[in-house]
């Protein structure tokens, strides 16, 4: 059985283009799993091992979070390759959920960039300990000292160098290990031989100084080390132990460095993963006991306990659906029976797989802490599996609501079938990607977190499913809300043949900051019988799915009923639902409804010389510039911009800045649409309705 203390589940998080894929590739290589090194973007037509989807190869980014198992010096490491683009944030977050530690990769030239900040925030949210790796030391302008300071200043972490570089840019040769006080060089055709030598004389003083800083920082976590250091008798193992304590509590970040592309510095980083990042038993994980009112229970990393595992990733492979799971508690054997609390269904574990970069290995058992894959299981990502007899669910993950939608039209019958298949698959894989058929227009609508997010799925439909589709204009997910309280008193009466319908509801609606929708029953004396109260609630909910301004859902509204009347024969569930719908419409106009639109937090980074152009482009898009930060000749601008104005911004930004600036955005909040634009939206909606009625 595998020793849990020798297990690591890590992710590699980074800003796009900081060399994450190359680093992952090198890690796999040095762990002796693959035997040739391919460059990203496939100079030799092979591409890196981890991002095997064709589309990713084309864009040079990694989208899926495939988990890969490697062995390093007797430790088994599962590497979860996290996607690098903000538009796919849910994928990053889902991966973070199953990680115990991470490597934050930073570019030695670009340093801490907007996305590093996003990724750092995610690591913080899931409390993931990490080490930093400053990559690309061979690049012109490389400055690991500056990047280390940025980790301190911009991310607010206690970053400490555990290495210093030997030469930089085209003179970069290796690193000095500040704990062992040895110079490390990487020789052999692919840097596979790590050669230890004396520290070059000219770096001696610098190394001594940095070592002292390192031990000072580490001493805070170990009195033993602090005392030993005073006597000049500190040992390597004391330093490792102290640093490890700091890393596990996220109070210290050891900084490694190198150039993955030039095959330098990767092996010491792997040693660092083993030294500093936690094993699965050192991380607290909880689940909710569905049999005990969703009480939180702490999971035990003990193979003898009942099994609890989380399905975090589905993949359509050559041989059917592959479900990646992380085992948190207990042990899983081939042939075991498991229970899925969401589907309330038991299933049998057929094949149990361990995934390596390109091959899969059939295994017979796996223990808590490990990441493995199952074949042919019907489930959705985010599902919990447990041993029959317990009914646990892992805490539900935070899933943001989609902010953009797009109509998709298949070109022919064959494409329509393929498209349906593809959409079914995507919605299972990615909870932020949704799809539905609009009952009015009969169009298939897809929804997601951004333009690029939807683009990628359209592309995947074409490539993987050969579904030829055309798309409509992207549509923003507007909302409606009310601004003041308004009374209603509405009677629904119908007496044309057959059974009559009667129901009267009275009360008021008012704005409700805290909740999307709230129903309050203040009926006294049973003027509306208890059995019809839920009917009123249902009626209001039905009415609020489509506001009368532009047909979008009405949010932040409280509906209160305090009076009504009933008929002994004619009152029914339907009658009260209809009465509530009527009451809602009656009061809605009086409650001064307004339109809300998604506002994005946009971060643009680029050379200062283009600052004016960037300011201008944001201003034109109704953006509010919140701040701009300038450092040397680089600026970072943060703004709040309505999503509806951001379509095509990447193209605009590229042409304004000669391709030297980049931006990222994420959903921030819903904000009020200005009057002039609200009027246009209303007009367009009325126009659309008129056409539909003809």
């Amino acid at each position: 059985m595998m020793d849990i203390s020798k297990m690591r589940n890590i992710g590699i998080s980074a800003h796009i283009d900081s060399g994450k894929t190359t680093l992952t590739e090198r890690i796999l290589y040095y762990c002796d799993k693959i035997h040739m090194i391919h460059e990203v973007k496939g100079k030799d037509g092979h591409g890196a091992t981890m991002d095997y989807m064709e589309l990713e190869r084309e864009r040079g980014i990694t989208i899926t979070s495939a988990s890969t198992n490697v062995t390093w010096k007797g430790h088994t490491i599962n590497i979860i390759d996290t996607p690098g683009h903000v538009d796919f944030t849910i994928e990053v977050e889902r991966s973070l959920r199953v990680l115990d530690g991470a490597i934050l990769v930073l570019c030695s030239v670009g340093g801490v960039q907007s996305q590093s900040i996003t990724v750092d925030r995610q690591l913080r949210r899931y409390n993931v300990p990490f080490v930093a790796f400053i990559n690309k030391l061979d690049r012109t302008g490389a400055n690991p000292y500056k990047v280390k300071e940025q980790i301190r200043d911009k991310l607010g972490h206690n970053a400490v160098l555990v290495q210093i570089p030997i030469g930089l840019e085209d003179k970069f040769q290796g690193v000095v290990d500040l704990i062992q006080m040895k110079a490390l060089y990487f020789e052999g055709p692919n840097g596979e031989e790590v050669v230890e030598r004396e520290i070059p004389a000219e770096l001696r003083a610098e190394a001594e100084k940095r070592r002292e800083e390192l031990i000072d920082a580490a001493s805070l976590f170990s009195d033993e080390l602090a005392e030993a250091f005073l006597e000049g008798a500190e040992t390597e193992s004391q330093i490792y132990a102290a640093l490890r304590k700091g890393v596990l509590t996220r109070k210290l970040i050891p900084v490694f460095m190198g150039s993955a592309y030039k095959n330098k510095g990767v092996q010491p980083l792997l040693d660092g993963v083993v030294h500093y990042l936690p094993n699965p038993s050192e991380v607290k994980n909880t689940a909710l006991d569905l049999n005990d009112g969703e009480k939180e229970v702490v999971l035990k990393a003990d193979p003898k306990e009942p099994l609890v595992a989380l399905a975090f990733k589905l993949e359509e492979g050559q041989y059917g659906q592959l479900t990646y799971i992380r085992i948190y508690q207990g042990m899983l054997r081939k042939g075991d029976e498991l229970y899925n609390p969401r589907l309330r269904r038991k299933f049998k574990v057929g094949r149990l797989i361990r995934m390596h970069a390109h091959e899969m290995e059939d295994i017979t058992e796996a223990v808590c802490g490990d990441i493995v894959a199952l074949f042919g299981i019907d489930c959705a990502s985010g599902d919990t599996f447990c041993s029959p007899g317990i009914n646990y669910s892992m805490t539900s993950m935070y899933i943001p609501a989609p902010v953009i939608s797009l109509a998709v039209f298949p070109k022919d019958k064959a494409s329509a079938d393929q498209m349906a298949k593809a959409l079914g698959r995507f919605t299972k894989e990615d909870p932020t990607f949704r799809t539905y058929v609009d009952p009015e227009s009969n169009q298939t609508i897809i929804q997601g977190m951004g333009e690029l997010h939807l683009d990628v799925y359209i592309e995947r439909m074409k490539r993987e499913y050969r579904a030829e589709v055309e798309t409509g204009m992207p549509q923003v997910a507007y909302r409606e809300t009310i601004t003041q309280r308004a009374e209603f008193d509405y009677t629904h009466k119908k007496q044309t043949g057959g059974a009559g319908q009667f129901g009267r509801v009275a009360g008021y609606m008012e704005p409700c900051e805290e909740k999307e929708y709230e129903f309050v029953n203040m009926i006294k004396g049973g003027v509306i019988p208890n059995e019809f109260i839920p009917s009123c609630d249902k009626g209001f909910q039905a009415a609020r799915t489509k506001g009368t301004l532009i047909g979008f859902p009405v949010v932040n509204i409280r509906c209160v009923i305090n009076d009504g009347s009933t008929h002994p024969v004619d009152s029914s569930d339907i009658a009260f639902q209809q009465a509530a719908i009527g009451a809602f419409r009656q009061a809605y106009e009086k409650a001064k409804p307004i339109i809300l639109e998604p506002i994005m937090k946009v971060t643009v980074e680029g050379p200062s010389e283009f600052q004016g152009n960037i300011f201008g482009s944001l201003n034109q898009r109704r953006g509010i510039i919140v701040s701009s930060t300038e450092d040397n000749n680089f600026c970072r601008i943060e703004a709040e911009v309505p999503l509806s104005e951001m379509f095509g911004y990447s193209t605009v930004l590229r042409s304004l800045t000669q391709g030297k600036a980049e931006f990222s955005m994420e959903f921030l909040k819903y904000g009020r649409v200005p009057n002039t634009i609200a009027e246009e939206l209303k007009k367009a909606y009325q126009e659309k309705r008129r056409k539909e009625q003809k």
Binding site: I625, V626, S627, T629
Partner: protein
């Protein structure tokens, strides 16, 4: 309370009245004190007051953490707007009228700051009325730098408030006299206010008011807790 009333009752009206006339566009004002007395709070209060009056403000800072500055504004707004009706709406409106521009202290040239401010005002279409410059390093600046800033203030029509750190060991001197470290800029500074601690109070002293040197403690002082300007209790 309605907004008008809030503006009228602001302790900053008392500060304004102590001057011969309110600050005009193109004028430079400086708040000087040793470190840690409360210059930032004082400047943020001045900016918040201008924002409430519907003016647009650029806040220039030399710290890399813009979120810290934003929380200064949030705290002071909360204090100021405690009694205000519809405070949230006002809050959203004034955020739209405020922008924070931060520069790395090391090596940033005055020309660069002016260039970026111009870009914000012209290209960003941000019609600033007031600029707050918190933490400008007067020790490294030349009178030519400040002359350029004054010229810029005139051209774009803004009032600029600076904070300046003066050394505490010079306190005795600057309490009675123009702070020596600001001497080279004396002609370019229209209004100079100093903050000084005395028996747990933070006094506000008007040192220079255009062509006169009143050297008097004002009826306002700084609340040691919130670091906001308050009127003296009578």
């Amino acid at each position: 309370m309605v907004r008008k009333e809030l503006i009228r009752r602001s302790p900053l009206r008392a500060l304004e009245k102590s001057l011969k006339e309110p600050l005009k566009k193109g004028e430079l004002a400086v708040v000087a004190s040793p470190k840690g007395i409360g210059k930032t709070g004082c400047l943020v209060h001045i900016a918040t007051d201008a924002l409430l009056q519907g003016k647009q403000v650029i806040h220039v800072s030399f710290s890399t953490r813009t979120d810290h500055i934003i929380s200064w504004y949030e705290d002071i707004f909360k204090e100021v707007a405690r009694k205000l009706n519809a405070a949230m709406e006002v809050h959203d409106e004034i955020i739209r009228h405020r922008v924070i521009m931060s520069f790395n202290q090391e090596g940033v040239k005055t020309q660069q700051i002016i260039r970026s401010l111009t870009a914000m005002i012209r290209d960003g279409n941000f019609a600033a009325d007031q600029i707050i410059v918190d933490g400008y390093n007067f020790a490294l600046a030349t009178s030519e730098d400040l002359r350029l800033i004054k010229q810029f203030a005139n051209e774009v029509g803004v009032t600029i408030w600076f904070s300046a750190t003066v050394k505490p060991e010079n306190e005795k001197i600057w309490n009675r006299d123009f702070p020596p470290s600001l001497k080279p800029f004396e002609n370019l500074i229209d209004v100079l206010i100093t903050l000084g601690e005395s028996e747990g109070n933070i006094l506000v002293r008007l040192v220079k008011d255009r062509d006169s040197y009143p050297m008097k403690d004002l009826s306002v002082h700084l609340d040691p807790k919130t670091l906001m300007i308050v009127e003296e209790k009578k």
